[in-house]
């Protein structure tokens, strides 16, 4: 029973809870046991807070016993990316800078999940400050891909994706600044959704690039991701960039079907040099959606080739400002025996940050510095306007856009880490979505010849998450990729 509980969907777990066949603490214990047995090989978790989680699971069980205040998430364990602050829990963003940092409050998403009766139970590994595409930039540990432990899980939310694939948690939360939910979801064969900018509160999230960062759900199914999104979304007075719009019933969109839906196929997202197995799987997925009544239309996103360059100017500039707060004074790492205040700042930052974080702070500082602002940062913001306009134009002739998530499946450790630009280019299909602020989904759509998962990306206009869930749902009901699990 115990191992079985770790491969069920939220709806299946909720049914067992309602029928009293299992209790919320039992579901949690089953997942904790699986983490204990197998995470040595996967390395998804940086920290497990079993005691707090057990107390929360008991509270959830009381709600279930009383039959009041029960939601789709009551009693469901949720893994949390370490970029999200939780009260009384280490919250390090996988950085030495925050090695001793303990959350002193709950991020809004954590509060919302707890109110829904969900059971947050651990912090998941990631690239330091969410900067990376393989989780190799974590200051603490390596996370492996559960489908092939010689391969990366993707990043930056590598722990969140690997945990779901490995059956450590039915759902997890990640963050996506340039693809950090969708790319690891594709690499690990799970569903991952990046909501529209402003859909989910960022209060209590350790900032990387504030105009791009957004939290989103991972699940083994699109339906599970929809359930989690339901309780993450909504306006928050503590985040002035969260948007005050009603939250629709996301799970209900899952079964709407795609009859008559217009799917845009962007020619710029099917490029030379793409892995043939990836292209084949993605094209087959699109054909499956056509079989169900969707119509495909060719669309063009002409500024796609500028997206990576635009992103690395905008994101590094914002990162250099956001990370100015780590000065060794109020929290975080402080260098030993500083000779004066300047020395304290300079050495605390030099010693506390890892190499990729420092590279990005340097580039961001340069492109915001006097004399270079217009040539770099402002130019990038103008390109960003054009990239968003590409999508607004494309969405006049289609409802959603379909593409691969990445040009290739999961790569091997070390394969790209020696060359940062090669690593950056692995995000080429996911980055534009963040620059435009729209929403996107990665759905498992098959495997390469080597047995590595492939992801179909679906993009939709601002606040049209229902269309993502509708499209992903239709595909998921017709296929069984989401019912295949890696052997640990």
């Amino acid at each position: 029973m115990s191992a079985d509980l770790c491969h069920l969907t939220i709806d299946e777990l909720a049914k067992l809870l309602r029928e009293k066949k299992v209790s919320a603490p039992e579901i949690l214990e089953a997942h904790l046991k699986r983490v204990q047995e197998h995470d040595g090989k996967i390395g998804a978790f940086l920290h497990v807070n079993a005691e707090q989680a057990l107390a929360q699971a008991k509270k959830a069980q009381e709600l279930l016993d009383g039959g009041r205040g029960v939601t789709a998430l009551t009693g469901i364990p949720v893994g949390i990316k370490d970029v999200i602050v939780m009260d009384g829990t280490p919250s390090t963003a996988a950085s030495r800078m925050l090695e001793k940092f303990n959350g002193t409050f709950d991020a809004t998403v954590v509060t919302k999940l707890k109110h829904a009766g969900a059971v947050p139970f651990g912090k998941l590994n990631m690239d330091e400050f969410a900067m990376g595409s393989s989780t190799e930039n974590s200051a603490y540990k390596k996370t492996t891909n559960p489908w092939d432990t010689g391969c990366v899980p993707g990043g930056s939310s590598g722990g969140s994706a690997a945990a779901v694939a490995a059956g450590f948690a039915p759902v997890t939360i990640g963050s996506d600044t340039g693809g950090s939910i969708r790319q690891p979801a594709a690499f690990c064969g799970v569903a991952g959704l990046k909501p529209t900018y402003g859909r989910v509160s960022r209060f209590g999230v350790i900032a990387f690039a504030s105009s791009l960062d957004q939290l989103g759900p991972f699940g083994r199914t699109v339906k599970d991701a929809a359930h989690l999104l339901q309780f993450m979304s909504g306006y928050d007075g503590m985040d002035s960039t969260s948007v005050d719009r009603p939250v629709p019933d996301y799970a209900a969109a899952h079964d709407r079907g795609v009859k008559g839906l217009r799917i845009g196929i962007p020619k710029e997202y099917f490029i030379d040099g793409m892995d043939a197995d990836v292209e084949k799987a993605v094209r087959a997925a699109i054909t499956e959606l056509e079989k169900q009544g969707a119509k495909t239309v060719p669309v063009s996103l002409p500024h796609t080739k500028y997206a990576v360059a635009t992103y690395y100017l905008v994101a590094t500039a914002e990162a250099s400002s956001n990370l100015a707060r780590y000065d060794g004074v109020r929290f975080g790492y402080r260098a030993k025996d500083p000779k004066d205040l300047a020395d304290l700042y300079i050495r605390s930052r030099g010693e506390g940050f890892g190499p990729e974080v420092k590279r990005r702070i340097m580039l961001g500082t340069f492109c915001l510095s006097a004399g270079y602002y217009d040539a770099y940062y402002r130019k990038a913001q103008q390109l960003r306007w054009l990239i968003r306009q590409d999508f607004l134009d494309a969405f006049r002739s289609c409802d959603v856009i379909a593409s691969p998530v990445t040009p290739s499946a999961a790569f091997r450790f070390g394969e790209k880490s020696a060359d940062p630009i090669q690593m950056y280019l692995s995000d080429i299909f996911t980055i534009s979505c963040n620059l435009a602020g729209i929403c996107g989904l990665s759905v498992p759509c098959g495997f390469t010849g080597k047995g590595l998962p492939v992801g179909l990306q679906v993009l939709a206009p601002h606040f049209a998450e229902e269309l993502l869930i509708q499209t992903g749902g239709a595909y998921e009901r017709a296929t069984d990729w989401h019912r295949q699990f890696p052997k640990l």
Binding site: K100, T310, L313, Y376, L383, L386
Partner: protein, 95 residues
């Protein structure tokens, strides 16, 4: 635009980052490659294009200015690298 070690050291000082000689050399290589890569943006005529600051249209939300206590001093100092007498402790600023 080509950066040299001197430029990189200046940027590092603006960013308040200590850098070793080896790091400075590595930044020169990396940053010059990145600047070469982003130079492609100059192909695009943006003379009539506005700069996008917010991807999603949003109003500036207003709220009453209410004093709140998110947490007390003790909790606020929980993560301090050095604290004394309920305050953050730092090296002497004025001689």
């Amino acid at each position: 635009m080509k950066l040299d070690v001197g430029n990189v050291r200046k940027i590092a000082s603006l960013a308040r980052l200590s850098v070793t000689d080896a790091e400075a050399e590595a930044y020169v290589t990396h940053m010059n490659r990145m600047l070469d890569y982003v130079a492609q943006l100059s192909e695009v005529d943006t003379s009539k294009v506005p700069a996008l600051e917010h991807a999603v249209e949003m109003d500036t939300p207003l709220r009453d200015d209410v004093v709140r206590r998110p947490f007390d001093v003790v909790r606020g100092l929980e993560n301090a690298p050095a604290a004394e007498l309920n305050m953050f402790r730092v090296p002497k600023v004025i001689e």
